[in-house]
């Protein structure tokens, strides 16, 4: 059946917006198919009223003149075909942002979860955001001291960076994120900061852990939490990071705050996307994930950084668990192509009791080069980091050799490398959850590690730096 519309101009549509239609044609997972509506705009906001008069929020995914596909973020459980009422609002999905959201707990759509009434909003913002004009961006270069040696020293976090944690199930990524949130500071002064926390499909305990940790460090009033937990409809996870980032943009670029956005777990987000994609019968690419996974993730990750002429910044710390610890899996892989580096966890290091179990070699911070060195951290930092990477990568070779021929058979030099490797992992990388090291302590510790090697091996540092810091 096909209907031909005579009405179609935007003015007519405005008149028709808010009109309600009763009776759905088909319901499939979180998707509802409607027929015989007025022309509906792509991406339009939809309110769905069920038989119990409860309102659910949805968005138009596909619109044609005979059928409209709506995805409902709160799921479709309990809906009946004849009893479903759909109201097409004629405007995109928005979030009424407000500074008052700090200190509150909300669901993925930004509605309060804590029982209190919703804060008064400062204005509606499209949750999808708009791309920042590349000419308006300001290149991030302010060093954030996290107090964690392996991050500060080797994969330095910069204000405005998007630096994900690639972890695995059972690894302490939550602790690390909480520790960073607690200890992060910019040198030279206190800044107006806020934390936006988006939980997608994580367990209640995890959310609880973060709330407690924020409470302990006394920052809870500066944290906005968007929780879409494991038992909430999986489709809600698609909108959760968008709501969170919309608030973050408001706080950063309109209120001038320095916002840290923690998003966990991106793997759950991607799985929800795959679910929708499969339901819609789209052609899958790798491992069943939709072909637009890259663009879709980029829409989230690119909502970070700094804008010239505006005070605030958005620093993103997404957490993702690599399925089967496989860094080549589409989710970590595509993430790594978009983000400005990655912090990679290593299960073997975790097994040896090293915290944080960060493997320095695959970890990387792309913005580090412009944020460290003289005037920012310390003049010897770039060369030192380079040398630690180079030497540590040789340790792996030596260990492999040692496992074949035995440690006793190694040359003196190689044994020195083993010693260096142990010191590096146990003293430099390893620290406690409550321990906070200044950048100077971190760098000095790095030199202490290098001093276990003969100076001829250190080709990446200058002779002058050797003279100042090298103590064999």
């Amino acid at each position: 059946m096909k209907t031909d519309h005579i009405i179609g101009s935007p003015i007519d549509r405005q008149l028709l917006s808010g009109r309600e239609y009763v009776g759905a044609d088909r319901i499939d997972g979180p998707l509802v198919f409607m027929r015989n509506t007025h022309p509906i705009g792509y991406g339009e906001l939809v309110q769905c009223i069920d038989t119990k008069n409860e309102v659910r929020t949805g968005q138009v995914l596909d619109t044609a003149d005979d059928v409209v596909v709506v995805q409902l973020f709160e799921g479709t459980a309990g809906l009946t075909l004849p009893g479903t009422r759909m109201r097409f609002m004629g405007e995109p999905l928005t979030l009424d942002v407000s500074e008052q959201m700090l200190g509150r707990v909300m669901n993925g759509l930004g509605n309060p979860r804590d029982g209190a009434i919703a804060p008064k909003g400062d204005g509606e913002r499209d949750v999808n955001g708009l791309p920042v004009n590349p000419t308006s961006r300001e290149y991030p270069r302010d060093f954030i001291q996290t107090g964690i040696s392996v991050i500060d020293g080797l994969t330095t976090l910069i204000q405005g960076q998007k630096l994900p944690i690639f972890s695995g199930n059972g690894l302490p990524h939550n602790q690390l994120a909480a520790q960073i949130a607690r200890q992060a500071k910019v040198r030279g002064g206190i800044q107006d900061f806020a934390i936006v926390f988006a939980a997608m499909g994580v367990k209640y305990d995890v959310a609880r852990f973060f709330i407690d940790s924020f409470e302990q460090s006394g920052v809870l009033d500066n944290v906005a939490l968007f929780l879409s937990l494991a038992d909430d409809p999986s489709i809600e996870r698609i909108i959760t990071p968008r709501s969170a980032l919309t608030l973050a943009e408001h706080l950063a670029f309109e209120k001038g705050k320095h916002v840290l956005v923690i998003m966990t777990d991106m793997t759950n987000y991607c799985e929800s996307l795959r679910e929708i994609s499969t339901l819609r019968g789209e052609i899958p690419s790798r491992k069943g994930y939709p072909g637009y996974l890259y663009s879709n993730l980029a829409e989230l990750y690119e909502r970070s950084g700094k804008i010239s002429g505006r005070d605030g910044s958005i620093t993103q710390l997404p957490i993702l668990t690599m399925p089967n610890d496989d860094i080549g899996h589409p989710i970590p892989d595509l993430t790594g192509y978009i983000t400005e580096g990655q912090i990679v966890f290593d299960r073997e290091m975790h097994g040896r009791g090293i915290y944080p179990p960060i493997n320095g070699l695959p970890s990387l911070s792309r913005l580090m080069k412009d944020g460290i060195g003289e005037g920012m951290t310390r003049d010897d930092h770039p060369h030192l980091a380079n040398q630690l990477f180079a030497s540590y990568s040789h340790v792996k070779d030596v260990r492999n050799l040692a496992s074949v021929i035995g440690e006793e058979e190694l040359t003196t030099l190689d044994q020195q490398y083993l010693e260096f490797g142990d010191f590096f992992e146990k003293r430099f990388v390893n620290q406690s959850y409550m321990e906070e090291r200044t950048i100077e302590e971190t760098l000095d510790l790095g030199w202490k590690a290098l001093s276990l090697l003969p100076s001829e091996e250190l080709q990446r540092v200058t002779e002058e730096e050797l003279e100042r810091h090298y103590r064999s």
Binding site: H5, I7, G8, P10, R13, P39, I40, G41, Y42, G43, E44, T63, A64, D65, P92, D126, P131, N133, P134, T135, S136, R137, Y139, I283, P284, S285, R286, P290, G291, Y292, Y294, S295, A298, E302, G305, I307, R310, I327, G328, H329, D333, L334, G336, Y337, I338, E340, L361, P362, R366, K369, N386, F389, A390, S393, L401, I405, E409, T411, E456, Q459
Partner: protein
Amino acid sequence: MQDRIVGQVQRVNGPVITVKGITDAMMMELVSVGEQRLVGELVKLSGTRAIVQVYEDATGIAPGDNVYGTGMPLSVELGPGIIGTIYDGIQRPLEELRLAGGDFINRGIQRPSLNRNKKWSFHPLVAVGDTVFNGVTIGTVVETERVLHNIIIPPTTLPKGQSAQIAEIVTDGDYTVDDTICKIKTGENIIELSMMHRWPIRIPRPVKDRKPLRLPLITGQRVIDMLFPLAKGGTVAIPGGFGTGKTMTQHAIARWCDADIIVYIGCGERGNEMTDVLREFPKLIDPRTGRSLMERTVLIANTSNMPVSAREASIYTGITLAEYYRDQGFHVAIMADSTSRWAEALRELSGRMEEMPAEEGFPAYLPTRIAEFYERAGYMETLNGKKGSVSVIGAVSPPGGDFSEPVTQHTRRFVRCFWGLDRSLASARHYPAISWLESYSEYVDDVSAWWDEHSEGSWKENRTKIMDLLQREVRLQQIVKLVGPDALPDSQNFILEVCTLFKTAFLQQNAFDEIDRYSTVEKQVRMLQLILSYWDFGSEAIKKGVTMVKIRRLKVVQDIARMRFNIDNDNIAEFDRIALRLERSLTQLGGIYED
């Protein structure tokens, strides 16, 4: 924009819009959709229906919205004012969009690609009565201090093979890009010409002839120039997983290569990377001309969060701009970072059009599109007999760093040079992480004549020698992995030693070091020569019984290891001194054992 309605929207599915009631639309026509006038391109026609891909976010477009035609294909504006500008994928000037629409890119904004108000100082090169053809230069404009822009008669102005007479030409003076500066007469027809013209991005610009590639594109990056050279007019792919340094390599080449014009396409990559280029390039000075690098650079930024269909177009926009400058007799290098994102855009659009997929969801026409793109590179004789070239340097981002995936595989078929980036090198912070085992260049023979001329005949021979050593090292490393280095005799251990030195002192290059970031042809030749001398004299000494530990401890070896940082490009004489010391100390050492 004209109000010619070509049809109405029937269905909206992301950036793909089905249009019904089509009357007189043409294939690949540029259209605008809805009252927001979103820019789109008509990609499929079938009966009274058509498929349009829109270059902006389609939110709010509804069935029944009008689709307006423009009567022309998606084109770029060509004329003075391109250099130094940053455009999006469909050549909208981002600076101007920012002034008009603020820090975020709003939908439906339009600004002309070339500034219509700016006056350029035009200098005519033809006189009334002169006979001219398509492609002839009629005058020049100083676009930047280093780019003398040739105003040419657009390649399709006259029917093929026909000539015309200049009927009128303006005198020296300041004109805007759309002022009429020249009238040409062919038979009864008078054609008015301005300094700008349009060209459809999907159609290669015509040339007179393709020429063989003989000149190398000097990049100042040692591993590239000495081991895997690229010719001017050649094509190369740089595949590598994330974090292996594709973008860094592309940036380094964009900075230091000896092309006249650089077109840098940020195709579906990070916003901050483009900001980095915008921030760095104006400050950097080109070692050859002493001018700012921005004066030869055009940027096309379609970052990953900008609409996916414009990403698909950005590659064509870039190469059309490159061809335009080639037609003026320039050597142009185009960096496409990354072609995988472009291929993914193709896949996404193809999926939404419900086409039958081939490998990994990519459309079956992927290889054809890749081939078409790379074939637009070349060393050409232009319509007016000048020589110009377009070299294409395409980054490829294989999922999981796996080179067997479709985009890498198909790209390999159509490029003649391959710089494979290696993750283990990148992890050890060995940059550029170009693997010497996996990479190749088919241009070695093409450019060896030029190189031999510039290296006193040593280039090809030395290159073969060091490549041979690297191959032998691989085999030895396998043995070392099993039994340890002590089991090898010094003569073989010395191979390992020389290769390690070659890697740290030559192949690695620090992009941020004032001296090391760029090496002249001469410096590169001398550095390789020095390392090979070390090999020759060292092997000689070992034959006489000198132990490797002794050789290693020589002060001069440390100097070689640090030469990339310590010896300036202008200070070539320093190499003579090191070479002399090397020879002396090693023969001396050998002499002790001979007695």
